[in-house]
């Protein structure tokens, strides 16, 4: 039971990192990233290949994952930043699919659909419970760092400019903000955070494969961020822990439903995610921790 809770807390920490990414891109800057699962995968593969086959230490893998995520984020967003916002949504949705296809077919690099197993963790796995507790400590510490940095960024003049871009690009441009550049910076940093989450996932579970990086992950994170409050890093992080609690609750609820097959139970769980997201968007779009108005500096 304890190890189950520890495992869930590690996974929730990783989702909270993804939620930080979406908070910055969507909540603060207004850029919808429907390809979150793709950036998650890029980070996981970058770090796993470097550490397993390149022999690099895990921290180097994590940094490389962030760099790969930022570059991918820049490439994906740059063509759409001058267009209507929904073009970015279309491109990112396509990106996540393209990443999965490439990961399934470039067997020399990614192991194809078999995936990559035996990814080093940087910690001895034979510590048993100690390994999971150490991983929990590391993931939570990294989440804390990212959360703290993001809070500072959001409160900084740069963060204010991002919110101005979100509210009205034309006004922001008239006020002398470089809108395209700000959007590219925010999106690339957000993609790097998602990639970091992917790298941590790979090192913790020791196994990654294309089927893990389902588009469903992206919807999970939208649910987490919407529940917590998409404009605040704190809300997004708490939303991720609530998401994991909700997903586990639906798992138990689906098990005790009489006369429902395993496939049906899985379908009910996925559908419930969609239903809750629709309800939240409609009833409480600003989440549990709504964004607060910031006072103008004197």
């Amino acid at each position: 039971m304890v190890s189950y809770v520890v495992f869930l807390l590690v996974v929730a920490g990783i989702y909270a990192l993804l939620a930080q990414s979406l908070c910055l891109a969507w909540g603060v800057t207004g850029l919808v990233n429907l390809g979150l699962a793709g950036f998650f995968a890029i980070g996981a593969y970058a770090s796993a290949t470097l550490t397993k086959w390149g022999g690099a230490p895990v921290p180097v893998g994590l940094l490389a994952a962030m760099l790969a995520g930022a570059v991918a984020g820049f490439v994906v967003c740059v063509s759409t930043l001058r267009l209507r916002d929904d073009y970015l949504a279309i491109v990112t949705l396509g990106f996540a699919e393209a990443v999965r296809v490439v990961a399934s077919n470039e067997i020399w690099l990614t192991g194809g659909t078999d995936g990559i197993s035996g990814i080093p963790a940087g910690l001895p796995r034979d510590w048993g419970q100690g390994f999971h507790l150490a991983a929990l400590g590391i993931v939570t510490a990294i989440l804390g760092l990212v959360w703290f940095a993001l809070r500072r960024l959001v409160a900084s003049p740069w963060g204010r400019a991002l919110r101005a871009v979100r509210e009205d690009q034309i006004v922001a441009a008239v006020a002398g903000k470089r809108v395209t550049r700000l959007k590219a910076e925010a999106f690339a940093i957000a993609a790097a955070i998602a990639a970091l989450a992917g790298a941590l996932y790979g090192h913790y579970t020791s196994y990654i494969a294309p089927e893990i990086f389902q588009p469903l992950i992206t919807i999970y994170v939208f649910l987490a961020v919407t529940a917590g409050g998409n404009g605040r890093p704190t809300g997004a992080a708490i939303g991720a822990y609530l998401l994991i609690a909700f997903l586990e609750a639906t798992r138990f609820a689906a098990e005790i439903l009489p006369g429902v097959s395993a496939v049906q139970a899985a379908a009910l769980r996925e559908a419930s995610v969609g239903v809750v997201l629709i309800l939240l968007l409609r009833l409480r779009p600003r989440g549990l921790f709504p964004e607060r108005n910031q006072k103008a500096p004197a």
Binding site: G30, V32, L34, V76, S79, T80, R82, L83, R84, D85, D86, Y87, A89, I90, V91, L93, G94, F95, E97, A98, V101, V102, S104, N105, L216, I219, F222, S261, V263, Q264, A266, A267, L268, E270, A271, V273, G274, V275, L277, I278, L281, R282, P285
Partner: protein, 288 residues
């Protein structure tokens, strides 16, 4: 080599014409309601199952099954619109797009709950391919091609000659002017969603006829649909047709040149290239 190219071209034009049907649905909803409906893949799946049920359980002939697919998907599309999307109209196009994505997830899983993950096949006679010299074409392929053309001809006539169709084009063209002329926006939006979703359902059924039906059959199309619509210019009706045929051909050529799995990536590459070089697409007017 030349034969292989020409064969790919034939297959591509046929596949592209079928792809044009759901792409028209997506682009029509975008033109009139001004948001990308990400439930379009799940809606295509609804049509594929409706047509399959009509064909196998009720024994309907293909044209009747196609009409059933249209009707069932129109209802599902209206449900998505009214329950999930419409309440968020004031929150902007992005919120509507996210809500449609969530609604698509619900539809897909409602189908999975009912029918399971198994592949379902239509009740079709096995026919030998027709051969023309070096080339071969399946009779089923030709039938699907003809059905897709007929659906598009009906849509064209509807948009050109009916009062509602003209009102739809007017709203797409200039919403404010259309409202000034007394067009009822609620009615036009409802008809557009019904027709757009219905087209997606017909497209899903035609693809299902060619392959098989499972809860993800429509989702596998979604990148090609987006690519067709973006290439033609989001919101452009003739653009969606031209874009779909171009994507169909490009996908077949990609299968010839690379690993067949990379068919899926063609759409993504085309979207990136079009948005970088000519965001308005072939026929589109507005992008920014």
């Amino acid at each position: 080599m030349i034969e292989a190219l020409l064969q790919a071209l034939i297959n591509g034009v046929i596949a592209g014409t079928i792809l044009a049907v759901p792409a028209l649905g997506f682009t029509a909803i975008f033109a009139v309601l001004n948001y990308p409906n990400f439930a379009i893949g799940a809606l295509a799946t609804v049509g594929a199952y409706a047509g399959w049920a009509g064909n196998t359980a009720l024994g309907l002939p293909m044209v009747a099954a196609l009409a059933l697919a249209f009707a069932a998907t129109a209802v599902a599309g209206l449900a998505v619109q009214w329950v999930a999307v419409k309440p968020l109209e004031s929150a902007g196009a992005l919120m509507m797009a996210i809500a449609s994505l969530a609604a698509g997830l619900v539809l897909e899983n409602a189908l999975r709950f009912t029918f399971g993950n198994d592949l379902r096949g239509y009740d079709l006679p096995l026919l030998r391919d027709w051969r023309f010299g070096e080339f071969r074409v399946g009779p089923q392929q030709v039938q699907n091609f003809a059905l897709a053309l007929a659906a598009m001809a009906l849509l064209w006539a509807f948009l050109r000659y009916s009062r509602t169709g003209r009102a739809m084009r007017a709203v797409a063209d200039n919403r404010d002017l259309a409202l000034l002329r007394g067009v009822d926006p609620v009615r036009v939006a409802a008809v557009t969603v019904a027709v757009g979703a219905g087209l997606a359902g017909m497209g899903g059924m035609l693809i299902g006829l060619d392959t098989s039906v499972d809860p993800l059959v429509g989702n596998r199309l979604i990148l090609s649909i987006f690519a067709a619509a973006v290439l033609g210019g989001l919101g452009s009706i003739p653009g969606a047709v031209a874009g779909a045929i171009a994507i169909g051909v490009a996908e077949e050529l990609a299968v010839l040149a690379f690993n067949p799995a990379y068919r899926l990536v063609v759409g993504f590459v085309v979207i990136l290239a079009v948005l970088t070089l000519r965001p308005a697409g072939l026929f589109g007017a507005r992008a920014s």
